[in-house]
């Protein structure tokens, strides 16, 4: 089963460490650019925020996400792509939750602004990652 780069150690088991670290760095840089583009902060600060929130959600999200996804992975009678996407939901949820808390504590901006920013950033980054995942699956 493939797991996207936002949840860090999972893909290592499938993809290997170097590829995964590269993917994680790309996601981190991409989300930093999104934060900056959304006028969250200056680019250096957006980059630091992205590093802290993505690595934290990468590790903690994996631990919590695996616990939540295991029952979903074993869903029978569904195509593999659908099972992967369903199992993927807890990871997305954990990513948003952890990154939101990290940003709230790190910058202390209004909670509403913080949560909306995190949701937007993750919707955009995951909407780019999911097609990549589906393409990888289609390659077998």
């Amino acid at each position: 089963m493939l797991i996207l780069a936002d949840v860090l150690p999972g893909p290592v088991l499938v993809m290997g460490a170097t590829i995964l670290i590269g993917a994680e760095l790309l996601v981190t840089l991409g989300e930093a650019l999104l934060l900056w583009w959304m006028k969250w902060s200056s680019f250096p600060r957006a980059l630091l925020d992205s590093v802290v929130m993505n690595i934290t959600s990468g590790f903690l999200g994996t631990f919590l996400g695996v616990m939540m996804a295991i029952p979903l992975i074993s869903l029978g009678g569904l195509p593999e792509i659908l099972r992967v996407l369903i199992a993927f939901l807890p990871y997305w949820f954990m990513t948003v939750a952890i990154e939101g808390v990290v940003l709230l504590l790190l910058r202390q901006k209004p909670p509403r602004q913080t949560w909306i920013t995190v949701l937007k950033v993750n919707l955009i980054s995951y909407s780019l990652l999911i097609p990549s995942l589906l393409w990888l699956l289609s390659q077998g």
Partner: protein, 312 residues
């Protein structure tokens, strides 16, 4: 007085990491290789990957002492249940480490007054404890001694003199520089990768691993002083280049010296990160310098674990 307090804090760091080392060694001995590797993965993910988050919480709630003390308590609980419930032990130890390091690190930063040497006093016993704890477990010794040491450390932390109401009263020495923080985190990530590569070269030769951890402890202790004397940037560049040159040599004695030089930059990068973040984020700075950046490099350690063989 402050130096004595820092040594006490460092001792608590040593017994905390010693308990962790014992637990990891014990898991490697008592679990099959895949389970042991997964346990290490979980521990590292929680203990290192969680430190930035716990550091942020500690800073916002001003609970450094409670975090350090509570973290040691969680580690002691983990040690206690290691044989009955190894996965619970990993969870407790991971959470304990994730709380202890930012909490104790924030106290050390408060006493360090912007210097790197006091941070070296705090960090040096940690790696030594880790090596000794691991060695103690791998030579088939039980958890009584690590448990006793942890108890002493816990009491020692509990009777520390009262801290200022807020640990972060000092005015900022310079404006926060987020770009520099990211660069420093990148440097720590690369340094940690080199350190892991050096360790991996000698794994599972226990004597050599102990020699490397001893050298690392000496390097951390000396590095803070040398950095303060000769300039942080000068010493960090010289030590890193020296470590790389020694690391590629064929002689193991030079590798030990290289490990010492490499680790001598730890208190310097930590002190530098402290200066690039706002003064009310000392626990966060600790979590970034001693946790998050190291967690990322630890990914390379992971073998190809087959999840299907794990008994969840």
């Amino acid at each position: 007085m402050k130096s004595l307090l820092l040594w006490r804090l460092g001792l608590a760091h040593g017994v905390a990491d010693g308990a962790t080392g014992w637990l990891m060694g014990d898991l490697l001995l008592t679990q099959d290789p895949v389970q042991g590797a997964i346990a290490l993965l979980l521990y590292n993910g929680i203990a290192f990957g969680g430190q930035a988050l716990t550091g942020l919480v500690v800073d916002r709630t001003n609970t450094a002492r409670l975090a350090a003390w509570g973290g040691l308590g969680l580690l002691a609980l983990g040690l206690g249940v290691a044989h009955g419930s190894p996965w619970m032990a990993v969870l407790l130890a991971g959470l304990g480490s994730a709380w202890f390091h930012p909490g104790a690190g924030a106290i050390a930063t408060h006493w360090a007054k912007g210097q790197a040497a006091p941070l070296g006093i705090f960090t040096a016993p940690g790696v030594l404890g880790l090596g000794l704890g691991l060695g103690w477990a791998l030579t088939d010794h039980g958890n009584i001694l690590p448990g006793l040491a942890l108890g002493i450390g816990w009491i020692g932390l509990g009777i520390l003199p009262p801290l200022a109401a807020s640990l972060n009263r000092e005015p900022p020495t310079c404006a926060p520089r987020s770009g520099m923080t990211v660069l420093l985190l990148g440097a720590i990530f690369l340094r940690s990768g080199l350190w892991l590569a050096l360790q991996g070269r000698y794994y599972p030769h226990l004597g050599m691993l102990l020699a490397l951890t001893g050298a690392a402890a000496g390097g951390k202790w000396l590095g803070g002083y040398l950095g303060d004397c000769w300039g942080w940037r000068n010493w960090a560049i010289a030590a890193t280049l020296g470590a790389i040159a020694l690391g590629v040599s064929p002689h193991w004695q030079l590798h030990i010296l290289g490990a010492m030089l490499l680790q001598s930059t730890v208190p310097i990068t930590w002190a530098a990160i402290n200066k690039t973040l706002p003064p009310d984020q000392t626990a966060t700075a600790t979590g970034l310098a001693l946790g998050l950046a190291i967690a990322l490099s630890g990914i390379w350690l992971l073998p190809a674990i087959n999840l299907a063989t794990v008994n969840w």
